[in-house]
């Protein structure tokens, strides 16, 4: 049984469909990344999955039944805003969350830094620690489904790795995890990805499957400025990386022609695209 599943679920606001005929599932122990541009429908889908919004059509099930108060107890949710009370201490926040879920805070299970800050007001915590407290509050009742909205935005790489270790530990205990992100390097922390464009799921599977072997042309020129101008003028999707230029999802011959046309000397190399490049190309194709 899936922890969460949607069948042909749609949600309309007025005449606009925010989510259209989406079928997806999160299995126990699985980390699913939900990717999409702004307005693609990620937040609406999450709210449907949490049972906060009713679908216009289709069905959502949590642990095999429709969302209810009962299913709410079995899931943990960390919103982007973290959902903590800033004028309560860390201990009070954790106790409040525990009481709401009908259990007690087990201090021994908390990480030492959180324990050391138990009497500190949440608003006086560093942002990184605040985020860890939010995770602790959402995970304390061993939820079977964990829903995370942009879980590690604004966090340094080491702290981000530590947060993902916490998420992974939850998955290893059997929880299903659904995480939205804008942050493409986070996609590599997920077992499976679901890409939404304009309310629909346009791709789903491993990062490698979604990328489908897409390639990028890398240009090295003595004067990158000239090469950039030549490619930009031709409308090629050129990106500057250090002093090199990257042009994803275009034939090397087109790049070569643009550079020759402007008499720019450069060296070309074809490499695998990054996941972000593949995502942008996918989103642009589907919109066009």
């Amino acid at each position: 049984m899936s922890q969460m599943a949607t069948m042909a679920v749609s949600r309309r606001f007025g005449a606009e469909y925010a989510v259209r005929e989406v079928a997806m599932a999160v299995e126990p122990g699985e980390v699913v990344g939900l990717l999409g541009a702004n307005g693609a429908g990620k937040t609406t889908l999450i709210r449907l999955a949490l049972g906060l919004l009713r679908p216009t059509a289709g069905t959502v099930t949590l642990f095999g039944s429709p969302p209810s108060r009962d299913t709410r107890r079995r899931l943990g949710y960390v919103p982007q805003s973290l959902g903590l009370y800033e004028d309560l201490t860390v201990a009070e926040n954790l106790a409040f969350a525990a009481r709401a879920f009908g259990h007690r805070v087990v201090a021994a299970r908390l990480d030492p830094e959180i324990r050391a800050s138990a009497r500190v007001l949440v608003r006086d915590l560093s942002l990184g620690l605040r985020r860890r407290v939010a995770f602790a509050a959402a995970l304390a009742h061993d939820p079977e489904l964990l829903v995370l909205d942009e879980p590690t935005s604004g966090v340094e790489p080491l702290a981000r790795a530590r947060l993902w270790e916490t998420v992974r530990a939850g998955a290893e205990r059997g929880a299903g995890v659904l995480a939205t992100t804008h942050h493409m390097s986070e996609a590599s922390e997920c077992d499976r990805l679901v890409v939404m464009v304009s309310g629909r799921v346009v791709a789903s599977g491993s990062a490698a499957a979604i990328m489908g072997g897409m390639q990028t042309v890398v240009v090295t020129a003595v004067r990158w400025e000239d090469a950039f101008a030549a490619l930009d003028d031709r409308g090629l999707p050129v990106a500057l990386v250090g002093r090199r230029l990257r042009i994803p999802d275009r034939p090397a011959a087109d790049v070569d022609a643009a550079l020759r046309g402007a008499e720019v000397e450069a060296r070309l190399e074809v490499v695998p695209a990054t996941f972000e490049e593949a995502f942008v190309a996918l989103a642009r194709q589907k919109v066009a």
Partner: protein
Amino acid sequence: MIASRGRQPEDRTTGWGLDRVTVRFGRLTALERVSLGVGAGAVTAVIGADAAGKTTLLRVLVGAVRPSEGRVRRPEKRQVGYMSAGSGTYGDLTVDENLAFAARAYGLSRGVARSRIGELLDRTDLMAARRRLAGLLSGGMRQKLALAVAIVHEPELVVLDEPTTGVDPVSRAELWRLIAELAAAGTAVLMATTYVDEAERAGSVLVLLRGRPLALGTPEEIRRAVPGELYELGGRIDDWRAWRRAGRWRVWSPDGRAPEGARLIEPDLEDGLVMAQLAYEASQPEVAA
């Protein structure tokens, strides 16, 4: 601080920037002895978590915050363009009005302003949205407008505070194209970011950790500057120098010795930042104790 040893970044003395700048707000030290060069025709990035001191650094460079110690090299005010975090456009003015207002504030003549605004609308793909209220634009479009407003007077130095935070990947790619166009035209660009993959695109990078400079150099120099080696393991290892990444475990070995069954790997910038932070924490007595 970890800096490149062999070669100073070439823009260190010729461009704009900060020399050993410290900023204190009351008892709080927001920046501690930070130096940074911002060269013309290049993108320089400041990377750090929320509250690492990025905004303070940017505000020192544009002249909005006076340093407690140290020196700042910046062009005259007219030659500075600044985009603050969270936009800096007027939501109840149209796209056109926002640009016209900025052009007037910088004293552009009516004719110059008209042609410059036309050019900017074209480059940012906002022409079709020129009569829409800025407050009704999507996040990505609003950031592009804020960038256009910051450069309407063609400044020599452009300072951008997290221009792509909260912006989706498609709009990010467009913002990056605009930023690269500025650098290609010879502008000195300094931008703050929380994204490692974004810092990787810059010519040089300053890493801030709680107001302190953790590393400075090209992405390549930063990842090579940490002593020791990086190893990858298939499974979990109980070591504070280990972290999980993309389903596998990595461990920093300061003396270079390989843990059992580990494979030596080449660090990327993200690994370099993690290792730099671990090295920094190891040097702090209260953490090591």
